[in-house]
């Protein structure tokens, strides 16, 4: 019968399902309709599936309310002994288990994300229904929260195969409930532990992305917020439960994050995590120092990741009294010629500026950074040079002791530059004995803006610092537009050309610019 209907029209089938669900709730006579609905729930038509999912949700929410569903362990031996009523409730329990299975399968693997969401919502409804009518066995503590079912949901959400970000986005609305938030972390932690073990710390990228999406969507409560917004209200409303405790929340949060960070992350995700770490994670952790292993490991990766790791480290040092003696040395090591050519140049210099903001860092250190930067400037592209020069001049302003680098009283010439560029320790690189000859060279740079910026360092500096941010993201295209001024007075070359390549040209002996007749002359 159902097969015929399915063939005819999915809409009529959906209507039929609705009717059947109503009948089930009206009397027990139509209880067999449940099996029909369970069957239609596995159909290929989205409309039919949607209708049956909502029907299942409705039916079992009501039935759970009537306490007609048996939720203990199903033993096959009991079946014959029990009286019909008991038998009926056991049968219902069987059906409920099947329904949950179907919902979870849909949640994890269905192609249509709408169906996934529908399944998720149905499951969450059932959780609330279960929570309202707890059996003695369901919850671990007094909160009545059906943790077992929730764990299953989280497991399905954190799929290893499919990208669940759409469904997780829907799930985000439930994070306002304190218990859901807490148990998400708890079950996520559990899930992560098993998955990490299974894949030996290298789970698939989709899984990690799913986890990260879920983790980054949680809004943690701030200290002092009242935590009594519960999804599943406990039997005793005033009783202390885990969800209401800030400490518990934080611990769960920390555990989840730490177990997440134990895995080997793909680079893009790595960067993303590091970017958000100091803003979104560190403030909510029960003890941020637990991150230090992760951060030091990240630093060793090199490149942009090292820098971002330093950002996290800096936050720890700055706000959480972490003692990390090698910080500046490591920062110093990050200044290398390729720094101007990576994607994160602007961020790098912004952060470096932040790290070196303090006027209490020793002068030798500042001098080392200044000297290193000016060395780098010798091979830096045009668009970065203004930034570098402003950076240097700001450092010089903050550290008047370093101004010997640009102005030294004694005028004795030195045989060579005392600065040792290959020395990794800023304390031993003798930057203080040196001078910024590189900046002096840059005063002859071909671009007028750069040479002017370098010229600033040739005179006593004004006390006010320059704003670095306007130079951080200076693109060549902007400079190009700026240089294309409207010409009112255009000077012209006065040497009358003989052709495109003149006889006194620099091209002469490098390029073959003469017509082929004269070529032989130049060769011999």
């Amino acid at each position: 019968m159902s097969a015929d209907d399915a063939k005819s029209d999915p809409r009529t089938v959906a209507a039929d399902i609705k009717r059947k669900a109503k009948e089930v709730l009206q009397s027990r006579e139509h209880a067999n309709n449940i099996t029909d609905i369970l069957e239609t729930a596995q159909s290929s038509e989205d409309v039919v599936v949607a209708a049956s999912l909502s029907a299942l949700q409705k039916i079992f929410c009501t039935l759970l309310g009537r306490k007609e569903v048996y939720r203990g362990k199903l033993k096959s031996s009991d079946e014959e002994l029990a009286d019909p009523k008991q038998q009926y409730s056991r049968w219902l329990g069987q059906c409920y288990m099947d329904a949950l299975d179907i919902l979870l399968v849909h949640l994890s693997t269905h192609n249509n994300s709408d169906i996934k969401e529908l399944a998720l919502l149905a499951l969450l409804k059932l959780i609330s229904a279960e929570g309202k009518h707890p059996t003695s066995k369901s919850g671990g503590d007094q909160s009545n929260f059906p943790l077992r079912l929730f764990q299953l949901i989280i497991d399905k959400l954190m799929s290893c195969e499919t990208d669940q970000s759409a469904v997780i986005g829907r799930f985000q609305d439930y994070f306002q409930y304190d218990d859901i938030r807490l148990f998400t972390f708890v079950s996520l932690h559990k899930n992560l532990r098993t998955v990490t073990k299974e894949f030996t710390r290298q789970p698939p990228d989709t899984y990690l992305h799913n986890v990260h999406t879920l983790l980054s969507q949680v809004q943690m409560p701030v200290e002092g917020d009242q935590l009594n917004n519960l999804y599943v209200s406990p039997t005793d409303p005033d009783a202390e439960c885990r969800a209401k405790q800030m400490k518990e929340q934080r611990r769960a949060f920390t555990n989840a994050w730490l177990s997440f960070l134990k895995n080997k992350l793909p680079t893009s995700l790595y960067r993303q995590v590091l970017l958000t770490l100091d803003q979104a994670v560190i403030p909510h952790m029960s003890s941020p120092k637990l991150l230090i292993d992760f951060l030091t490991q990240s630093y060793n990766v090199g490149g942009a990741i090292s820098l971002l790791a330093l950002n996290g480290l800096f936050t720890l040092i700055y706000k959480h009294n972490l003692d990390y003696p090698d910080f500046f040395r490591k920062l110093y090591a990050l200044f290398e010629p390729s720094v101007f050519h990576v994607k994160y140049t602007a961020r790098f210099f912004h952060l470096s500026d932040v790290f070196l903001t303090s006027t209490h860092i020793p002068a030798y250190l500042a001098a080392a950074f200044i000297k290193r930067l000016s060395r780098l400037a010798l091979s830096a592209p045009v668009q970065s040079l203004q930034m570098v020069l402003v950076f240097i001049s700001n450092l010089l302003r903050r550290h008047p002791n370093c101004q010997v680098l640009v102005h030294r009283g004694s005028a004795e010439g030195l045989g060579s530059d005392p600065y040792d560029a290959s020395e990794p320790d800023p304390a031993k690189c003798k930057a203080m004995d040196s001078s910024l000859w590189e900046v002096k060279s840059l005063q002859a740079h071909f671009h007028p803006a750069v040479s002017q910026a370098a010229g600033v360092l040739g005179k006593p500096l004004s006390p006010l610092e320059e704003d670095l941010s306007q130079y951080l993201e200076l693109y060549t295209s902007e400079m190009f537009e700026k240089d294309l001024t409207k010409p009112d007075q255009v000077p012209l070359e006065f040497h009358v050309p003989k052709g495109l390549f003149g006889s006194k040209d620099q091209f002469l002996d490098i390029w073959e610019t003469e017509p082929p007749v004269k070529k032989q002359k130049t060769v011999t």
């Binding site: 102005h407 010439g413 030195l414 295209s477 007075q489 040209d505």
Partner: protein, 903 residues
Amino acid sequence: MKHKYSSKADFVRKNKKKAQTDVKSNPFEVRINRQKHNVLGKKLRKFDKGMPGVSRSKAIKKRKATLLQEYQQRDKRNQFVDRRLGENDPEMTLEDKMLQRFAMERKTHHEKASAFSLNEEEELTHFGQSLSQIEKFEEPDSDSDDDATGKLSGEYVKEAHFGGFLTKKTAKDNEEKSDKPKSRQEMIEEIIAQSKQRKHERQHQKEQTDDLREKLDQQWTELQNHMLVQKKSKSQPKEEREKPKPDDYDIMVRELGFEIKAKASDRLKTEEELAREEQERLQKLEADRQLRMKGLTQEDIRQQQQNRHVSADDLDDGFDFIRPERLQLAYKDGKLLLPEGKELMPSTSDTEDKPIRRKPHSEAAADQSEDEDKEDQSEEENSDQSEGEDSDQSEEEDDGSDLESEKSEEEGSEEEEGDKDGSEEEEEGEGDKNDKSEQETEVTEKTRISEKERKAIAEAAKTELPYTFKAPESLKDLMELMEGQSYDRQLIIIHRIRKCHHPSLAEGNKKKLQDLFSILLEYFGKLANQSPVAMEMIDGLTIHLYELAQQSPGPAAESVQTVLKNKYHKFDSVCQRKGRAVYPAVDTLLLLKLVSVIFPTSDFRHSVVTPAMLFMAQILTKCPVTSGRDVACGLFVCTLFLQYVSLSKRFVPEVINYLHGLLYLAVKKESGKASVAEVVPPFKHAGAEGSLLVLQDSDSRSIDIKPLALDYLSKNPTQDTDTDDFRMCATHATLQLTNKFANMYKNLPAFHETFSPIRDLLSKHLVLDACPQKVQAARSQFLQLMTDHHSQATYPPLQYEKLKPKPLKLYEPKFDEDYNPERKMKGSRKQKEKERLQKMHKRELKGAVREIRKDAQFLARQQLQDQMDKDAERKRKVKEIMHHLSSQEGECKQIAKKKIKIM
């Protein structure tokens, strides 16, 4: 309201002014401010002297007229609006007002009355009398039309003016002439008749003079024809006959006389004149070409010319070269005049033609044609003279022709021929276009032209370039002009376009040339992208572009900017999308070279060169090197940079990085070892491209080092870049560039640091043992330079630029040497302007505050006065009432007393 107020104020002020001028200043009213120091001969300034009483009373009066009025009107809703014409306009005098009012009155009257008036004219009156009636007594011959004299005849004046009593006619006279005095009607009729007669006479005279003039004209034209024919046919023999034979002395004298002394040379022609001449010349050549294309020869044209009507105004300078081809229809003695050489000749030329007719026919014809050619030649020369070629050339020609004519006068015609040849030879040295036309005239000289030859000439003219061109408006137009032409001819076309549209010739030409510049720039790019780059054409174009840019630098710079901008945006968009870019095409590279030709590259900031350099720097940093072409492009850009900064010696870090990277590509890397040197993007440590320039053969000493060909730059070069030859050449070029840059940057304080990566690479990793001598020499040269520099280098510690020491504060007053109290203090114009405005604002504010205060005082006074007036009134009334009452009381008491008495 406000307007009224202000106008009232104006009115009062104006009246006051009048009064002021009337009243002589009373010495008792003048008050002079006491001077602190009396200075002899110092004039009292405006504010040192014043008449406080007068000014105060003036102010009060003004306030009474304005403020008081307003004060009194303050609570009133209604107001009196004076709508009389001109009453609100203080500028208007009383007379103007009256006039306007009168005009308005007439207008309204007219509008009302004219609706029913049948007569268009309204009746004008004078002192109440109708003017039309008075008119009758006015000068009676006023209707006579414009007389030449414009005056009345004396007789009439005598009689008619002043009632005729100037003549004092006696009664007797009157009786003699007519019995009774003429009636008015008769008099008028007589006058009319007289005037008509005079008019008729004048007309007659005029006709006569016209006839006479026409006659003269006819005679003149005839004469003219005669003269022309005479001039054209040989007049020399005749003159010769008349002249006595010159002896040696005469010849000597003349020769000496014509010997060139310090001859006054012509004024140097201005550029505009030259341009105009050039254009005229080209136009003439073009017209000639057009004619030749149609297959007409010079002779045909001349035949046509001879028969054409010559107007009296014709200067006979050959200016009107586009002649109507149809024949002038002319009759002579009733016979149709036919073109020359057919049958009939103008009768006037008969005498001159006689000697020719004696000759055999063919010879005569040849002779004639020769003569004509000579004439033509001299004519051409004349025209050349008038048009003027390049000044020196024309001078030469001048001399030649002068001498020639002289000689021809003295000597026979045979000698003249020889001379002619000489002059022709001289002329052969002229420009090619001239040459061509000359040659062709020569061709016409030689023989009578057969039909076949005629055709050939027409053919040649077709292939020949036109001399004038329309300025192209787009690249498409230009391409149409250029289509199928060789490069030489294309350049000639461009040259001619430029000459035809010289800015001094017409208004819009400058714009056209500016457009031409951008079009040529486009064409330049197009040519550059062709696979074998046509260098000779590009060179020619470069010169044109350079010269055009010299004419209008601003627009040229703008068009270069736009091209550059487009190319950059194309490059940058790829760069932004992918993070790296590909090397631009040849046209961009050559454009960048062109920029260095047209604009000075050593400027600190230049609106074209600086962006171009940025672009180049961007190319060197963003384009990864993946092929031989990339290497060639990179080297080209490096050389460009060398060119750009060769004078200014500016520092370009990108180039050093790039050269280092290229050398790194030449280093043989061993796998498994750590990278030999640190390279900066766009170069990478690893990858297939990492050893692009590593030689394949172990020994390549025999490779011939050649300069790189421009062909390598194109996207599909004909020469293979995947050879050891190319690798070696590229390495050599890199080393050469490195040397050049190192030499240029020798004086930079951070020279050693800048070049040390390259030095390390060359000394440790790139030994180049198996390379040609030249390459090794370049390498060792660089290393030598580095070691030399290192040994000599001194690193003087940096010091701030020496500032001028601040002078100590002195106690002596600071004197300004040329102090001028009239002049304001120093400062920028903006500052001065600000100061001035501030001062003005302060002054105005003060004035306004003072005025307000005085207004308040005035009002207070007024209020007090009002109050006092009111009180006085009240007092008076009370007094009156009391008086009345007391008198009543008195009466009452009296009555009461009386009553008592009565009682």
